[in-house]
Assembly symmetry: C2
Homo-oligomer: 307 residues x 2
């Protein structure tokens, strides 16, 4: 077997109060990738979408992790030919670059007979995030590779913990404006008030406990961000109205997905998640901003190999 | 029944990375209290120890919560006569004031036929903390009343979450120096680096997940405080050596108990906890500081009514 097809899912980083440490894997949307094992040490990329991502592997979020993997394989004469069909729009804030990077390394590892561990794969894939945003972060990569909800307790050394959770239905709205991850990072203050940090770590502890106790009310109460959201939400037109109206429509809570501009909301049923979608659509229709919406659930598997 | 005897246990606030939000209840030491229900609206305090705590109920950590409870009872002609035998040394950093306050309200509630809820009792008892340190905090009160490990996600409104945990053995050393809670609070900076705050909330999330997954290694890795400990540990002679040597002796980790000066360490067995105690004793013997040590375990019940 020297060919594989995989589905690399979207992810939501931060989860409101878990800036840089929490992430959640979604069932939809997914990038589709096909990979062939080559007999020489090179990475060849093809694109089957209209996104004009860099064809030079070293500049591509899927290519850079593959080059790193080849380097770690030393003298072995293998390479990868990868065709990417992206469905997760770059810049949407739902882990588009992470899906490319994670999908590529999971596919390659499969063709190599799974000789790398999941933490190895995360390590390789983070190089793709560095190409995309200049920062090696794992809060989209880890849930994409592990599935479910993950905590990155530490990046150096890498410490990834999976957090069990009850069924959750997720509504995402992607207003078609551009928020660059690097800009969204730059507007953050380097110092925060201790009292705000305390509130934040109370919330993240509550959120983890809520997930693990399947306590939906606690999950909802803990979805509060007093540090990042008040700053970043200013980059997203209609944010406060969307958030308040979705919670009024029955969502547990939610916030900015990653560095935005997508907004996500968690609900206890698909029916509520659909009502929440209508609320989002109404608001952005009124504002006059184009958008995409998704109603999906937690993907507990991560990148999926097509059988 | 108009008399009751109760045992009010010591508690450890903060638990290293959970400043102001986490607390743990200990089996030992315990204050002993005897309370009589009176037929008139007053609080009478007696002390059976040598600690010279204020006899005026309004100035006493056990008295102030009882006065608040009486006020909430309105016209009802009841009162409390309380005899306190403190075994938890005031100023030790293991929740001495909280034990007085929590013990008093649990005893009073028992004599009143349990008409107040646990959150009510926490609310009353926090007034005792205000008398003791000027700040209404609940991170010792909540574990003392609920037992086990508690998270105070929020004080206003009060949101207390119990965190299940595996068996833990705790070693505490109380070096006989004075660290006032108010001083320990004053030396903290009002602002912290965002990158440190992120590391801290990764750790508290890891600690909660570690407790709930019974993952001792994760508990150990998460017992890291990059914000409070580096500042406060300077007030405790020998702190770094105690911490490093105890971990070398097999402890999972630990740190300052509350605002100090007590240091606590968590271990997976009583045998390790006893070795850790010897390490602590050796170090403070060498430094030439008097101390008390305790080897105990998690008290899952909180304040106990004598049957």
């Amino acid at each position: 077997m020297n060919e594989v097809k995989i589905y690399a899912p979207a992810t939501i980083a931060n989860l409101v109060c878990g800036f840089d440490v929490l992430g959640m894997c979604l069932e939809e949307p997914c990038d589709i990738m096909e990979m062939k094992l080559l007999g020489e040490k090179k990475v060849v990329l093809h694109s089957r979408d209209g996104f004009n991502l860099p064809a030079d592997p070293a500049q591509n979020t899927a290519g850079a992790p593959l080059l790193a993997m080849l380097e770690e394989l030393g003298q072995e004469q293998v390479g990868f030919e990868l065709t990417i069909e992206k469905h997760i729009k770059p810049g949407s804030g739902i882990g588009s670059s992470a899906a490319s990077a994670a999908g590529a390394v999971v596919a390659a590892n499969h063709l190599l007979g799974n000789r790398f561990s999941k933490p190895d794969l995360v390590r390789f894939a983070m190089l793709g995030e560095k190409v995309a945003s200049g920062v090696k972060h794992a809060d989209n990569i880890a849930p994409c590779i592990y599935g479910g909800i993950t905590l990155i307790r530490s990046i150096f050394p890498l410490d990834i913990i999976t957090i069990p959770a009850p069924a959750l239905h997720i509504t995402v709205v992607h207003p078609l404006i551009e928020v660059r991850t690097s800009d969204a990072r730059q507007i953050l203050r380097k110092e925060v008030l201790l009292k705000d940090a305390i509130r934040q770590w109370g919330n993240i502890a509550g959120l983890v406990a809520g997930f693990m106790k399947s306590d939906y009310a606690l999950i909802g109460r803990s979805l509060e961000d007093v540090i990042i959201e008040p700053v970043r939400s200013m980059l997203i037109p209609g944010f406060d109205e969307v958030k308040n109206s979705c919670i009024a429509a029955g969502a547990l809570g939610g916030g900015i997905s990653g560095s935005g501009p997508s907004i996500f909301m968690l609900s206890t049923s698909q029916q509520i998640a659909r009502s929440v979608e209508m609320v989002m659509q109404e608001i952005f229709d009124r504002i006059g901003l184009a958008y995409h919406t998704y109603v999906t659930s937690v993907n507990t598997q991560g990148v999926r190999i097509h059988k």
